[in-house]
């Protein structure tokens, strides 16, 4: 059975395709999130022509900005695009089935999370060290992408110290939202003013504005 491509595809076939594709993606791709992007592109853009490459790129940006697990976000948005709300449900169901089943099996085979075997303990310590490195590199890349000037760097450091002082992470994220509004508003106003009295305050204007364009 070879389902059609593009608009010729019927809804049930689209739902089946969504379920099977996302099942395959989360069952086979270790690491999740962005690692699944090439597979998604191959299936939905190249083979089935259900969306364009630009649409996929827009969606990738969006799945990283809305809250939630990136893999589930991608499933929801691609499902919506291909077959509406039922599509989103089918894609998410497909994405969730493999990890859910596999982890359930592992968790019931491995009930006490404290292994006693020396080699197994060593292997776990190795993986933890590896994950430490991976999070460190991810954090470093995120820092480079997000933090654009000294003020933002100071804000990150304040949040970091507050987190160490056991302020609840949920509270930190929620308090970051009004801060973000105030900051964006302040920045827009400052740019506006800089535009009005250009030249006069050129020396006094902090160098931050120029750094905005830095990659």
């Amino acid at each position: 059975m070879e389902p059609g491509t593009g608009l010729a595809m019927s809804t049930p076939k689209r739902l089946l395709l969504l379920y099977c594709s996302f099942f395959r993606i989360t069952a086979l791709v270790v690491g999740g999130g962005l690692a699944m992007l090439p597979v998604i592109e191959e299936i939905f853009v190249v083979k089935r022509k259900l969306m364009t490459r630009d649409e996929l790129l827009d969606m990738t940006a969006l799945t990283q900005t809305v809250p939630g697990i990136i893999a589930v976000n991608s499933a929801v948005y691609i499902g919506m695009k291909v077959a509406g709300v039922p599509g989103a449900l089918a894609a998410v169901a497909g994405a969730v089935t493999p990890p859910f089943t596999v982890i359930l099996i592992i968790a019931s085979l491995f009930p006490h999370l404290n292994p006693h075997n020396r080699y197994l303990l060593g292997a776990f310590a190795g993986i933890r060290a590896c994950v430490t490195g991976m999070i460190l590199v991810t954090g470093y890349r995120m820092f480079r992408r997000t933090v654009k000037n000294r003020l933002e760097c100071a804000v990150v450091l304040i949040f970091f110290v507050l987190a160490i002082m056991k302020v609840s992470p949920a509270l930190l994220i929620l308090s970051a939202i009004p801060f973000g509004w105030a900051y964006v508003w302040w920045q827009a106003r400052r740019l506006e003013r800089a535009g009005k009295v250009e030249g006069e305050t050129a020396g006094a204007e902090p160098a931050d504005v120029g750094k905005e364009g830095r990659p």
């Binding site: 270790v30 697990i69 929801v76 859910f100 060593g122 993986i127 060290a129 992470p169 964006v184 508003w185």
Partner: protein, 202 residues
């Protein structure tokens, strides 16, 4: 029954707060289940996350399923996974309609800027949590650093030290990630083998 509802709602909360990918779950989960409810020790959480990392599938979903299982078996897993998914579905189905008008609005732009900065800080915090489980032999004693401000010599608690194999593996992984394009599967499996081998010598 109400236990599962609470678990579901907890994961709904995590899902809504999870800006910036699956690693953001680490500080949220440790604050809730290690520090507050104490259903898991930090070591157990570390092992759980290791299993979630090496198992295929998104780390966030794997971790949620596992934490749910520890909290209430099969139904706990189901409640946790659903909790992670339902808010995403609701946000996604209502937002996908107007993607284009969405991103440049002031309200959204400010929210994203703020939450991203917080996300960077919280991922840095997740790194320190993991330092305590890999390159150090126990949780980082932040209280001891407080005495530095009083110009006293910090007193480190017993059992706090540096783990040579942890430093070695972590350092190698960082260099490999920055210099090569090795897939994370290779890094994880290699580290597991290296850890098992090094446990014989160190």
């Amino acid at each position: 029954m109400s236990h599962y509802v609470v678990l579901f709602l907890q994961f709904c909360k995590f899902s809504v707060l999870c800006f910036g990918g699956g690693y953001m779950l680490i500080p949220l989960l440790t604050a809730e289940f290690v520090d507050r409810e104490q259903v898991l020790t930090m070591d157990e959480f570390g092992n759980l996350l290791s299993v979630a990392q090496v198992t295929p599938g998104p780390v966030g979903l794997n971790t949620a399923t596992y934490v749910g299982f520890v909290n209430g078996g099969f139904w706990g897993s189901l409640a946790a996974s659903l909790g992670l998914i339902v808010p995403t579905l609701l946000i996604g189905c209502s937002a996908a309609a107007g993607i284009d008008h969405w991103k440049d609005r002031f309200v959204v732009r400010g929210m994203l800027k703020g939450t991203r900065l917080a996300a960077v800080a919280l991922i840095m915090f997740a790194v320190t949590i993991f330092f305590g489980m890999s390159i150090f032999t126990s949780t980082i004693p932040w209280e001891a650093f407080g005495s530095l401000f009083r110009l006293e010599r910090p007193v480190l608690p017993d059992g706090f030290g540096i783990s040579p194999s942890g430093v070695l593996i972590c350092g190698t992984v960082i260099v490999l990630m920055l210099r090569t394009k090795l897939p994370s599967t290779a890094l994880l499996l290699g580290s597991a083998a290296a850890g098992a081998l090094l446990s014989v010598f160190l």
